[in-house]
């Protein structure tokens, strides 16, 4: 997820594009989303496993640091908030409340951002460096047998 014109806010999109170039298994779809959590709901209900890559603000204050998170890590109290829209836990709860099919697993790779407000198609240096590492982590995650 992300905005490729807003500096580090585009890190998720860049990871997605790198993944596509590297080649991924046929049953895996790489999507780019720049939308509020609600529209995310429509997307995730179609899949069994979802991996989200996005920038975060907060965390440890170390731009480029990669966090692997689960849904329960995203409570508002934790101080880790995805940089896009209606929070994911609420979206998932909404899906449950409406009886919509839910993914069995949601994993989030969150990269700490340095700057998400300047207009630029480049990420800040530490975040740029993190991109290949995130790609590797996602590929490894995809190879993991399902629970």
């Amino acid at each position: 997820m992300g905005n490729p014109l807003r500096r580090d806010d585009g890190v998720g999109i860049k990871v997605a594009r790198n993944l596509r170039e590297k080649g991924i298994p046929a049953e895996v779809e790489v999507l780019e989303a720049a939308t509020s959590g609600l529209d995310l709901l429509e997307i995730i209900t179609e899949y069994e496993r979802v991996i989200i890559v996005d920038a975060i603000v907060g965390g440890e204050g170390l731009p480029g640091k990669i966090h692997k998170l689960s849904l329960s890590d995203l409570s508002p109290r934790s101080g880790l908030v995805l940089s896009h829209g209606i929070d994911l836990p609420t979206v998932v709860k909404l899906g449950e409340a409406l009886g919509l099919p839910q993914p069995k697993e949601i994993v989030i790779f969150a990269v700490e951002a340095g700057d998400i407000s300047s207009f630029s198609e480049e990420c800040t240096p530490r975040v740029e460096t993190a991109i290949p590492r995130v790609v590797e982590l996602v590929l490894r995650e995809l190879e993991r047998p399902r629970n």
């Binding site: 905005n3 509020s36 609600l38 940089s83 609420t90 409340a97 407000s117 300047s118």
Partner: protein, 487 residues
């Protein structure tokens, strides 16, 4: 003077903080709505080919990208001095109406509506879509998701992508509509018309028949006598896609009517040192500060303003709903901010009916979808009604079409002065003797959620949910209280 700040603001796009200054007696002295982000988008665009703008500008905000795409495309029509074909206009307008409807629905049910359906004094954890479903039922929730899904499919079919459509070209659109697609559009539009009727019934049952809410909607707390602006067709009926910009005064009398191209003769921007938002005002009335009335150049845009600025709705069911609203609220114009929510639902009905009209139009599937630009570009303005209000894109280029200057007046900027006034008025009447209970804080936020503001657009920044702290200081600047708004 004590300072109380509400921060971060829930359920809006973008972020900011409200600072309320209390005097020694604990009464509100002054209130400000501040956005700490920086602008810079316009500079980012200079030096780029103008034709890229319909794909760049939608990235200002992930919520109303279609509005920017359309305003940008129309600015290119003007820049390259090319008139789109009749079919292209219909295709664009159809997609645009679908977008208006789905966006308004998102706002009502997810962002602004929960205040009404669940109640403003309910705990924060319930004042969201989950609370709406708990109250209005699971079927209501599923209906909302379904109608938005269908409308977004229409946008995707025409626009190529849902979030950032790419179909707009100077002089037309990139692909024609097939008969198969037309059938889908008709079905989606019919579903949307039914949904809109249901939504208005829901509003009637939950809000209008509830005295407490009705008092809120009609009361003085959220009320400002301002000018109103909106796009109208040749019959002075509201149109989202095209027409003339019409302004009426606080008494409802026409004050100005102009082509988008002439906006600089009518709208000026005022800057305050404490925020990056630029405040629009009417040049020919003048900036008199954050005050109401005929002498103040402050105007409002978006649903209620559009209905005030028009003489009616161009489709029959929406016209009925429009008449009912004005009858209930005592005639035109209506100044009550909370009526924005009602007007938003009436607009959803109009957008759906209009979509159906266009979907049934025989010319929709014609292959004549573009006139090629032949002239040398120089300067162009495009104006549309974004869900949040009138949106202007203004481009100046060299003879090769490379951008030299870009000016965007985004919808929320046009409402920003009124938003500040609403917050201050609400704060003044609700906070006394330094008491700030939780439910009342949300009522102040209600004031501007009605505008559905996207401060991301107003500052050309994108939302990031930065944890913000609230610091209360006395008049010597010492910290009195530290508040964090719990989500």
């Amino acid at each position: 003077m004590k300072r109380i700040t509400i921060d971060p603001i829930t359920r809006l796009e973008g972020h900011g903080k409200i600072e309320i200054f209390l005097n020694g007696e604990g009464e509100v002295e002054r209130a400000y709505f501040q956005i700490p982000e920086l602008r810079g988008f316009e500079k980012f665009c200079e030096g780029r080919p103008a034709e890229e703008m319909p794909r760049i500008t939608p990235r200002i905000c992930g919520v109303c990208p279609t509005a920017h795409h359309m305003a940008s495309t129309k600015a290119l029509d003007d820049l390259f001095k090319v008139e789109p074909t009749p079919t292209a206009k219909k295709i664009r307008e159809l997609m645009y109406c679908a977008f208006q409807a789905e966006d308004h629905i998102l706002h009502f049910f997810f962002l602004g509506g929960p205040d009404f359906v669940v109640g403003p004094k309910a705990p924060a954890g319930e004042r969201n879509i989950l609370g709406v479903i708990a109250k209005a039922g699971m079927e209501a929730g599923l209906k909302v998701i379904e109608v938005r899904k269908r409308l977004r499919k229409v946008i995707q079919t025409i626009g190529g992508k849902v979030v950032h459509p790419v179909c707009g070209l100077p002089g037309g659109v990139s692909k024609p509509v097939t008969e198969e697609e037309r059938k889908e559009f008709i079905e989606a539009a019919e579903y949307a018309v039914d949904f809109s009727k249901w939504a208005l019934e829901l509003f009637d049952g939950v809000v209008l028949k509830n005295k407490e809410y009705l008092d809120l909607v009609t009361g003085d707390i959220y009320k400002h006598r301002t000018y109103y602006m909106g796009l109208v067709d040749e019959n002075n009926r509201l149109n989202f896609y095209d027409g003339r910009v019409r302004v009426v005064d606080p008494n409802g009398k026409e004050f100005a009517k102009f082509k988008g191209r002439d906006y600089l003769n009518h709208i000026q921007e005022h800057v305050e040192p404490w925020t990056y938002v630029r405040f629009s005002y009417l040049k020919n009335v003048g900036w008199k500060g954050f005050v109401d009335g005929e002498e103040s150049g402050i105007f409002r845009v978006a649903p209620l303003a559009r209905l005030n600025a028009a003489d009616g709705m161009a489709t029959p069911l929406a016209q009925e709903a429009y008449e009912k609203m004005y009858e209930t609220l005592g005639g035109k114009p209506v100044h009550n901010t909370l009526a924005f929510h009602w007007a938003r639902l009436i607009e959803t009905l109009y957008a759906s009916e209009r979509m159906l009209e266009l979907a049934r139009d025989p010319e929709l599937t014609s292959p004549k979808i573009r006139n090629m630009p032949m002239e040398t570009p120089e300067e162009g303005v495009g104006v549309v009604e974004a869900p949040r209000g009138t949106l202007f894109h203004h481009y100046k280029t060299d003879e090769r079409g490379i951008l030299r200057e870009v000016n965007l007046i985004v919808a929320t900027q046009n409402n920003s002065a009124a938003i500040c006034m609403d917050i201050e008025r609400a704060a003044k009447s609700l906070i006394h003797k330094g008491e700030v209970p939780e439910g009342i804080l949300n009522m102040i936020e209600m004031a501007f959620r009605a505008y559905d503001p996207c401060h991301a657009c107003a500052t050309h920044a994108l939302p990031g949910q930065m944890p913000l702290e609230v610091i209360v200081r006395d008049r010597k600047g010492r910290e009195l209280k530290r508040l964090v708004r719990s989500l």
